[in-house]
Subunit: 354 residues, 2 copies
Amino acid sequence: MVRLPRNAPARDGFVTLRPTTKDLAQAAGVSLATVDRVLNGRSGVSASSTEAVHAAIERIGFERNIVAATLARQRGHRFLFALPETSTEFLDVLLDRIAEFRRASMGEMIQIGVLRLDERDPHRAARSLTAISAEDCDGVAIMAAETPQIRDAVQRMRERGINVVSFISNQPEAEGLPFVGIDNAAAGATAGRLMRRFLGPRSGSILVLADTMQGRDSLERRLGFDTIFAGALPQLQVRPTLESYGDPDRTQRVLANAFAAHPDVVGLYLIGMQPQLALATLASRPSAPITIAHERTPSTELALREGRLDAVVHQDPGHLVRSAARILRAQCEKRPILASQERIRIEILIAENL
Amino acid sequence: MVRLPRNAPARDGFVTLRPTTKDLAQAAGVSLATVDRVLNGRSGVSASSTEAVHAAIERIGFERNIVAATLARQRGHRFLFALPETSTEFLDVLLDRIAEFRRASMGEMIQIGVLRLDERDPHRAARSLTAISAEDCDGVAIMAAETPQIRDAVQRMRERGINVVSFISNQPEAEGLPFVGIDNAAAGATAGRLMRRFLGPRSGSILVLADTMQGRDSLERRLGFDTIFAGALPQLQVRPTLESYGDPDRTQRVLANAFAAHPDVVGLYLIGMQPQLALATLASRPSAPITIAHERTPSTELALREGRLDAVVHQDPGHLVRSAARILRAQCEKRPILASQERIRIEILIAENL
DNA sequence: ATCGATTTGAGGTGCGCACCTCAGAATTTT
DNA sequence: AAAATTCTGAGGTGCGCACCTCAAATCGAT
């Protein structure tokens, strides 16, 4: 229990205490009020005063005490996660992590809400977003396919002063929206590389199954996957992407057809969010192809353990949630974000490192 | 900018404001002073009062406001990272992360120091630890091989009231020390599984090179690695562990000898912290074996990109540092730790998911 | 019943900052 | 020059909690 007297001498490898706003005011030769005005971007400060404060900040190495600031700024950030309404295992996991984060961040004065967007009806989804008022909400993390309606809604939200990040599924970067999620092309390439290595010298067809190829994410993953097999690999044929539309029956049907059409299937890449649908179909097949899926869920985890799945390419939902919240918070407080810390890693899971 | 008036009505998916200690005192029918005594584990409270407070905590769902608490408890935690003196690339990366974390946590009133321990001389290392006073330091994360001297020094530190976690290299769990790091047996098994899959139908010898097999970590990794090849794999021979002692010349020598003795080498598992030594030797060989190493460093990253390394099994140094600090802090504040959040993942890196 | 020990309550202080007010100073405009 | 405007400083308040003191109440044992 080390108390920290002001002006504590530097000892060992430790640093001394940090200057406060009072020290800053003194160093800058202005009053606390002016320091406050500069620090919090209030109006009515002359250029020379602003300059003096900034110079003093540099000189004495002032850093705002975030703990005290968030306490004093009796303002809990309210963030919304806008997620698709259709339920998938990955979304369930994500919701769990959001709930977990909500509990953890109550202590930090952050309130978390969830809004479900009707994917089938972009207009309705856009209206849900438009209904969010800046009074109720400081920031929104949006996971939705990019449509003109959504794009407009996002634009209007930002005009209302609500911070927005695009979450997991990337909105076009042109708008300058921060993106929280993995590089899907790299994720696809990762899956492709594993597939190729696991296949070794084997030859045959590789099937690719997506929920739908409408979404940017699936496209990017497929493109990344293909980069690995492009060129000199005549013995491996990556077949056109099959689409399941998240429908168990259709999944069964398209897979059965594909297996019939290509008796030499040696690999199966499950791009989409519902790999368990395909895995269920596959369970009945005798010689299983090398199978790689995305996202760790109870289903994929079990399949990995049971050997029905050879690898899973994953993005950590906990990280996604926390990163989105950190970015939104930084934006609210007009702090810079450390891009390096916010990069979501592409994780590879096999049975041994679960 | 949402202000949070007390007794704010619940809106949307948001939660209402949290009760304060004052509310808690009222609910428990005791005074603020008694609530304070219970919350902070001070003495002189009857069992019945303690009971009443805890019941009230449950009932009204009180949760301490960490922001206010850390501000009021004008006590900056001081934590030390005690690391080996011998420099490796992994340690350099680790030091970078520690420096980064130090900067980031100044705002949270946490001070971070680094202490280097002379590995060659356990007595000297133990003395360095013994010199740490509880006045100067609230917690220590120790990365060191377990020796009787270190064990005793740790014991004495704990008796002095300094919190300790064993860091990266595990001290025996018998002492009830929290451990921050990966399960090395699982990490070894992960490397083994990748090796086996990457080898496919190939047959031959697999070499294993460690810095030294003195450390528990290397032993565990080797054991985990072997589990994958145990039993029905006559075509793959995992050879006895070679030791480099971190010496470039010796590395070169033992590897050259091993390659001479086993012309059929198809795999190379680099257990230790200095894979770059072996990689340098390997660069001159024509047909490279499947090579797997531990820990992402500039060297291993480059080797992955250049194809000289096929996979890296990794533990994130940033996570390690933050997790150690979180655990130490939780111990200082007598808070429980969320074991699930503190599990360090075994990451798999290939060229595509860097 | 008396004494000591234990338990409790009331109250205060301060952490570092955000945010507010209002009066006075410095500057610009008329 | 006066008036209007912009800028500045001094001061206060409160966030939720930790930590402190001191007096009063309660308890147990003799």
